[in-house]
């Protein structure tokens, strides 16, 4: 992460944890088929920066796919909602708040906060506050030149354009054909 962006997302995750009353929190960014922790706050999560978990699993994976914020209070013995990050922080959270970090090119990462202090679960106010901070993080993360989040591989781009061409031939067919030809020519 660049020196310009790192302090911003670190400040945002620290503010989110503090303001919502969470114990630990982190921001995960999609890099191909894994999610990487790029900022973290809290006693158990602070050392998690750089950790990678499989994409598409657990609460973070669901939120990244669905683009919908969610707050849940899983049973203590329910490992599904915390798949991935539970192993990183060494415990299964009792409450989880997870928000997509959105940009114009879709969700580039997620802000996840766990274990609200003094309460069984995060409130709707916490959801809205975290949503605002995650929105700022999304803008910051989208500016990362090194982050591949939202920037598909050429073959992914060709596939995406091909599907768009199927849906709307007049608008996308030509550029899909051109890109496919470029890829074919190596």
């Amino acid at each position: 992460m660049t020196d310009e962006v790192a302090p911003v997302v670190q400040a945002l995750v620290e503010a989110a944890v503090h303001a919502t009353g969470g114990t630990d929190g982190w921001i995960l960014v999609r890099r191909d088929e894994v999610l990487e922790v790029v900022a973290a706050a809290g006693p158990a999560a602070a050392a998690a920066v750089g950790a990678r978990i499989p994409a598409g699993v657990g609460t973070a994976g669901f939120v990244l796919e669905s683009d919908q914020p969610i707050a849940i209070a899983p049973d203590a013995d329910d490992e599904r909602a915390s798949t991935g990050m539970a192993a990183v922080i060494g415990r299964r959270p009792a409450s989880v708040l997870c928000i997509p970090c959105d940009s114009d090119s879709g969700a580039v990462g997620v802000l996840e906060i766990v274990d609200k202090l003094g309460s069984e679960k995060f409130s709707f106010d916490d959801v809205e506050l975290a949503t605002m901070l995650a929105g700022i993080a999304g803008v910051a993360l989208a500016a990362l030149p090194s982050a591949r989040a939202g920037v598909p591989l050429p073959n992914e781009l060709a596939g995406e354009l091909r599907r768009l061409a199927d849906s709307d031939p007049g608008r996308y067919a030509t550029v899909a054909t051109l890109l496919a030809a470029l890829l074919a020519s190596g």
Partner: protein, 304 residues
């Protein structure tokens, strides 16, 4: 020009009056869904799949009719018909809410989450298009995409669903950024209200979010036969989908715009509806900004 030569819109309205036409005063909850169970109505849940044997679903899922849409490594859409699991629990939660309101409605899972992150908007779109093609009465879509390039394809599919008589119910997105397809007039967009009563929903006079329904600390069915407390607009949308299923079962002749009108007429509190559903109100923005600023100021400069 004789009366029969005139275009329909210019003829005398009395000659066009439909039998059984109601006035708005007739549109009460009792008229709308009193005694209804959802029988005869088919609801598609476009989500992470449904755990069909969850004990709280009581066998309401048409397992063999479901579909799992994924994108393969070549970028092509792959459709797998038949039984599948719930990748997360979210689809089971939405199904459970609809079933709790419309117990005799038949539910079908359209799984579009859980197949990997690549091409997810395409999977959403294909799953929604399949549900529209299949002619479901109600389609619940508690997800979306902020990718602007997908706005037009979603717009066209949602319009097609509207004209084919499918009521598409979507979760509004809390973020202050366009999210599709929840912004389109052809869908019914829903955010949270503060109610605990599953039948207590509100009309929102400031679109694109049109209705508010319970979505805070909702006790929902979850994967593994369990239940969980959950918060989000994701859980508000299926409340409206369930009530719409009840209305549809009692009044199958209603088209989507009429269903919306019935929902409006039966909303618990039209006058006092929040000003900006699904987003931070101006007051909440001030409160949230103050809280965020205070939190940031206490932290001092962040380490690089």
């Amino acid at each position: 020009m004789g009366d029969s030569d005139r275009p329909a819109y210019s003829r005398d309205s009395l000659s066009l009056r439909l039998p059984g036409t109601l006035s708005l005063d007739d549109l009460t909850p009792e008229w709308a869904w009193g005694g209804a169970t959802g029988r005869g109505v088919r609801v598609a849940i476009v989500d992470s799949g449904i755990e069909a044997d969850h004990p709280d679903l009581h066998g309401c899922v048409d397992v063999d009719r479901g579909i799992f849409v994924t994108i393969d490594s070549a970028g092509d859409v792959v459709e797998a018909r038949g039984p599948h699991d719930d990748a997360f629990g979210h689809g089971t939660a939405c199904a459970g809410i609809v079933h709790s309101l419309a117990p005799d409605a038949r539910l079908t899972s359209v799984k579009v989450i859980g197949g990997g992150l690549g091409g997810k908007a395409a999977a959403f779109l294909r799953g929604l298009a399949w549900a529209v093609d299949e002619g479901f009465d109600v389609i619940n879509l508690s997800l979306g995409t902020t990718k602007r390039e997908w706005a037009l394809p979603f717009y066209e599919i949602c319009d097609e669903g509207y004209f084919r008589n499918s009521l598409i119910v979507t979760a509004a997105n809390n973020i202050v950024r366009p999210s599709f397809p929840s912004l389109f007039a052809s869908v019914t967009s829903v955010a949270c209200n503060m109610s605990r009563d599953p039948f207590r929903f509100h009309y929102n006079p400031e679109p694109p979010t049109e209705f508010l329904a319970p979505g805070i600390d909702v006790d929902v069915a979850w994967r593994g036969g369990s239940r969980m407390s959950s918060t989000g607009n994701s859980f508000a949308a299926p409340h409206i989908a369930g009530i719409a299923a009840l209305i549809r079962s009692k009044h199958p002749e209603l088209r989507p715009f009429q269903l919306k009108t019935v929902l409006w007429a039966t909303a618990a509190n039209v006058v006092e509806a929040p000003r900006m559903a699904g987003r931070l109100s101006r007051t909440m923005q001030r409160v949230a900004s103050a809280r965020a600023s205070a939190a940031l100021s206490q932290l001092g400069p962040a380490a690089p």
